[in-house]
């Protein structure tokens, strides 16, 4: 059952990712990206990390992508078919990026072929309790540093917006 869900979900994930890159209508692309983020959440569920899955949906699909869509809807000047064709530079960048990603995946794929995957972490790893404990003990400093970073970004955005208004 879990395997069937994995393959179906993997198909959805790849399909929506392809739509994001290939479709000409920015709103459809944004929607496909939202669906893609949801399919990533399903992978988290399959990996016994329900908390990460739910947070993925709330933050990325529910909040950030909605804002994306908001911006696309407001700024999209003429609607469909306005996105330009990819030039040579974009094509080269795409190939380079895909190549680098595959190269990074290669060791994992080889290890899986040889049956040398790391053992699964203890059950309950993806639950809220373990997550919170790790966040407030082992990863306390990076966690707090990230929040300060976000705060400074927020102040910066506010400053830029205010300066334009005045």
């Amino acid at each position: 059952m879990a395997e069937a869900i994995f393959w179906f979900n993997a198909f959805i994930a790849v399909l929506t990712a392809a739509v994001v890159v290939l479709h000409r209508n920015p709103v459809v692309e944004a929607l496909a990206l939202a669906l893609h983020l949801c399919s990533i959440a399903v992978f988290f569920v399959l990996l016994e990390a329900p908390f990460a899955a739910v947070i993925q949906v709330i933050l990325y699909a529910g909040a950030i992508m909605v804002l994306f869509l908001f911006v696309v809807m407001l700024l999209d000047p003429g609607g469909e078919g306005k996105a330009g064709r990819a030039g040579k530079i974009q094509l080269a960048a795409t190939l380079l990026g895909a190549g680098a990603f595959l190269a990074a995946l290669l060791p994992v794929a080889l290890a899986a072929g040889a049956g040398e995957l790391p053992p699964p972490v203890h059950p309950g790893f993806g639950g809220v309790r373990t997550f919170g404990q790790l966040l407030f003990t082992e990863y306390l400093f990076p966690f707090e540093a990230a929040s300060v970073l976000l705060l400074s970004a927020m102040i910066g955005a506010l400053y830029l917006a205010k300066r334009e208004l005045d």
Partner: protein, 351 residues
């Protein structure tokens, strides 16, 4: 296997399917009769009669409404973006309906030699699941607004995005207080924690107030129905919708109202727990106690649904800037203060 998938493995699929069937039947019936109740109560509040012609007391009115919706002409504007125009109401209804999966109607009980838990999926992260699925509901409204190719619809869609994202924040922060006090994200655990201490509406009235106000904004109900605001932007995001597609938005709204009422009951008003009555229920057999619990829960939820309708026909609409100011400058700081209050209370051992 992860617990979310466990439900459908092997023979587990039959009870789960039965539960899903019962739940959908319940929610659909509830939605039909809430729309009827809204019209009757509106009539009562405005000193008129309301629909009373179809069947005794007008009780068959929802059926007549449904038939009428189905047979109405379906109009899709010629310049609309057709796929998303059709998809939008489906998203609205699906997300609204899916949230009910983790709703508990009582604690687990023993009957016919088996332990039955009166909910579809007993997830560890029940509350977060509801928030996650509900946060996807905004896509239905935004897409409806955009795909209609109508400036009033687009305005409605944009307003709803801003409103939902703004009020999600105080709502979630009010929820944090509850989660801290209960120490769990499982809805049944939160209810049990309230049985052992006090209802959280009593223990943290500020949190309950913020949650209820934000829930009104999240469901786009008056006094916060900016996305529709018929006096300003015709009918907002569903201006161009007709026939069953319009009815789907309508259904989604009432499902969200029902869900919010259930959440308010579970999180702040003790769920299926009633003080004094709980002791009287101890003598009953397990299935009849479960039935009593479900009845108590349904009764409280019905009260909050009535409250929603009552407020809608009593208060006038906010102005848009007032709505935003209330959300960001009043409710958000209050919600943060509530978290500090709950933290202090936990330190003092009140929970």
């Amino acid at each position: 296997m992860p617990e979310m998938i466990d439900l459908f493995a092997g023979f587990g699929i039959i009870p789960t399917a039965v539960k899903i069937g019962i739940l959908i039947g319940l929610v659909m019936t509830a939605v039909a009769y809430i729309s009827f109740a809204e019209r009757r109560i509106a009539g009562f509040i405005q000193e008129r009669i309301g629909p009373n012609r179809v069947g005794p007391l007008g009780l068959l009115q929802p059926l007549a409404d449904g038939l009428k919706f189905i047979f109405k002409e379906e109009i899709i504007p010629s310049l609309a973006h057709k796929p998303t125009f059709i998809l939008a109401p489906a998203i609205a209804v699906t997300t609204a309906l899916t949230t009910f999966a983790v709703l508990p109607f009582g604690g687990p009980f023993e009957a016919w030699g088996k332990t039955i838990s009166p909910m579809v999926a007993d997830l560890d992260i029940g509350v977060l699941y509801i928030l996650a699925v509900a946060s996807l509901g905004v896509y239905g409204i935004v897409l409806a607004g955009w795909s209609s190719n109508n400036k009033y619809s687009l305005l409605g869609g944009l307003r709803s995005t801003a409103q939902l994202i703004s009020y999600e924040l105080p709502m979630t922060l009010a929820l944090v207080g509850v989660l801290m006090a209960a120490g769990s994200l499982r809805l049944a655990d939160i209810v049990n924690a309230q049985m052992n201490s006090a209802w959280y509406a009593v223990a943290m009235p500020l949190g309950a107030f913020i949650f209820i106000v934000s829930a009104f904004a999240e469901t786009n109900r008056l006094p916060f129905d900016m996305p529709e605001a018929e006096a300003e932007i015709v009918a907002g995001y569903h201006t161009e919708y007709s026939s069953m597609k319009f009815a789907m938005f309508y259904m989604a709204e009432y499902m969200n109202v029902t869900m919010s009422s259930c959440l308010i009951t579970l999180l702040f008003f003790g769920g299926w727990h009633l003080p004094f009555v709980e002791g009287m229920l101890q003598g009953l057999s397990q299935p009849s106690r479960a039935a009593a619990h479900a009845a108590i829960f349904a009764g409280k939820t019905t009260f909050f649904i009535f409250f929603y309708i009552w407020v809608r026909w009593t208060l006038p609409r906010f102005r848009y800037d007032q709505l935003m100011r209330l959300g960001w400058k009043v409710l958000l700081p209050l919600a943060l203060a509530n978290i500090f209050y709950v933290g202090g209370a936990i330190l003092l051992g009140w929970f």
